[in-house]
């Protein structure tokens, strides 16, 4: 169990190393230095940052699930770095496929089987279509100028890793619920992340509100504490508690379909004096 100061120091080094590493990996000219050498240095720093970052993780559950968690997380982070730093959009799409696959593995470890399968199916289609676009549109020989130069990489890296630092800071200043009493007395005012069920167990007022506000369909567990069957429970809550959401999602898909169909087909360009030709073409 790390202390908070140790966590924050380690997080600072992770953010610093990751920022410098990704800045060196982004496509950009660094003086007269060889691109391969800067990429090697940046890749090493990124790898070190990911390894240090893994120091924050605690293996979930027994050996096998912990092993799979580490494998999926390392794959997700490494492939994410490679997605945004690859010079060729084909490689970017391939690494993004790796990100999606490992994210769906993490979904599986979080107990969301339906989402794991749904993500693979939806994003497999999306990535194949993206591939088609890359093959249609991208420059095939060599790398284009816009793939070799990032847009103000220094400022973008600063911005995004400041965001990352803010997220990490807020994560490490939140205390776990039900800590031991010594830590409780020292940092009684520190924010704690309590489960709803724990709150209900400790406070009868919260329990009464929760019982009125939440339905039996919205819980992952049955009344006897066992997990519901996954897809049955998800479908139950989707079509009772969130019925309007489902309808809205359908409407949104329909609107997006119409929008894409109205955007995509090529139209004759609007030019003064060619109105006749334009209308006759349409």
């Amino acid at each position: 169990m790390h202390t908070q100061a140790f966590d924050l120091t380690l997080a600072f080094f992770v953010v610093l190393l990751g920022a410098i590493g990704t800045y060196l990996l982004l496509p950009h000219r660094f003086g007269s230095s060889e691109p391969r050498r800067t990429q090697a240095v940046g890749g090493g720093m990124c790898g070190l940052a990911v390894l240090l970052f893994a120091g924050f993780w605690s293996p979930p559950g027994p050996f096998l699930s912990g092993l799979f968690f580490y494998v999926f997380s390392f794959t997700a982070l490494g492939a994410a770095v490679l997605t945004i730093t690859s010079r060729s959009p084909i490689y970017s799409a391939l690494w993004f496929a790796a990100v999606v696959l490992s994210t769906s593995g993490l979904f599986l470890l979080e107990g969301a089987q339906f989402l794991a399968v749904g993500t693979v199916i939806v994003y497999a289609g999306a990535i194949i279509v993206t591939f088609l676009f890359v093959i249609m549109l991208a420059q095939m020989e060599g790398h284009a100028l816009y793939d070799r130069s990032a847009r103000s990489p220094f400022r973008a890296t600063i911005t995004c890793f400041m965001l990352f630092w803010a997220l990490l800071y807020s994560m490490f200043t939140v205390r776990p619920p039900l800590a031991d009493s010594a830590a409780d007395a020292k940092g009684a005012k520190a924010p704690r992340l309590a489960r709803m069920s724990d709150l209900a167990a400790s406070d009868p007022g919260v329990k009464a509100v929760l019982e009125r506000a939440s339905r039996s369909t919205s819980s992952l567990r049955r009344a006897d504490g066992q997990f519901k069957p996954h897809v049955a429970g998800l479908g139950e809550t989707l079509f009772t508690d969130h019925l309007v959401t489902v309808e809205l999602a359908g409407a949104l898909l329909f609107v997006a379909l119409i929008g894409a169909l109205s955007i995509a087909p090529p139209k004759p360009p609007l030019r003064p004096g060619r109105r006749q030709a334009a209308t006759s073409n349409a």
Partner: protein, 157 residues
């Protein structure tokens, strides 16, 4: 009394950390890359990070809300993909390039524009390509042969 949940705060923090890293990296890709397709992929990666966080919180609190929200995110991502790829197609048809900087003149009037001519100076130098293009070239000498001298890309034998 239900048994104590094995999805503790420490386990939740794992997924929050990975989700935060994916979000930050996706945002970096969206801000700094100039290829429209790579920007689209980075935006999808941010959505993946958020989905990880949502599912983790839903599991932690023991309800389905995170997963329902993630299904909604998948729907929005599908819509976004269709419209973004249609836009990519139309923008490519207009300027024959996937570069997003070519469209910087549609920003608000009065904002400074990045001069496109200076970008060759900041671009990464091109290394030698592996393949027949990088083979050493011999200086032609002697008589010109009578057969038509096709370049190697058009030769069929």
């Amino acid at each position: 009394m239900p048994p104590p949940d094995d999805f503790t705060f420490e386990v939740l923090r794992n997924y929050l950390l990975v989700g935060a890293a994916l979000l930050a990296l996706g945002m970096l890709g969206f801000l700094s890359r100039r290829n429209l397709i790579v920007m689209f992929l980075s935006a999808e990666m941010m959505l993946q990070g958020v989905a990880l966080t949502l599912v983790g919180f839903g599991r932690y609190h023991g309800n389905w809300t995170g997963q329902v929200f993630t299904i909604m995110i998948l729907t929005v991502a599908a819509c976004e993909a269709s419209i973004a790829l249609a836009l990519t197609l139309i923008l490519y048809n207009r300027r024959s390039s996937l570069d997003v900087t070519l469209w910087q003149d549609i920003r608000e009037p009065g904002q400074p524009l990045v001069p496109v001519a200076s970008e060759e100076l900041t671009a990464e130098p091109v290394g030698p390509v592996q393949g027949p293009e990088s083979y050493p070239q011999l200086i032609p000498a002697g008589h010109e042969p009578s057969h038509p001298n096709l370049p190697w890309t058009e030769r069929r034998d």
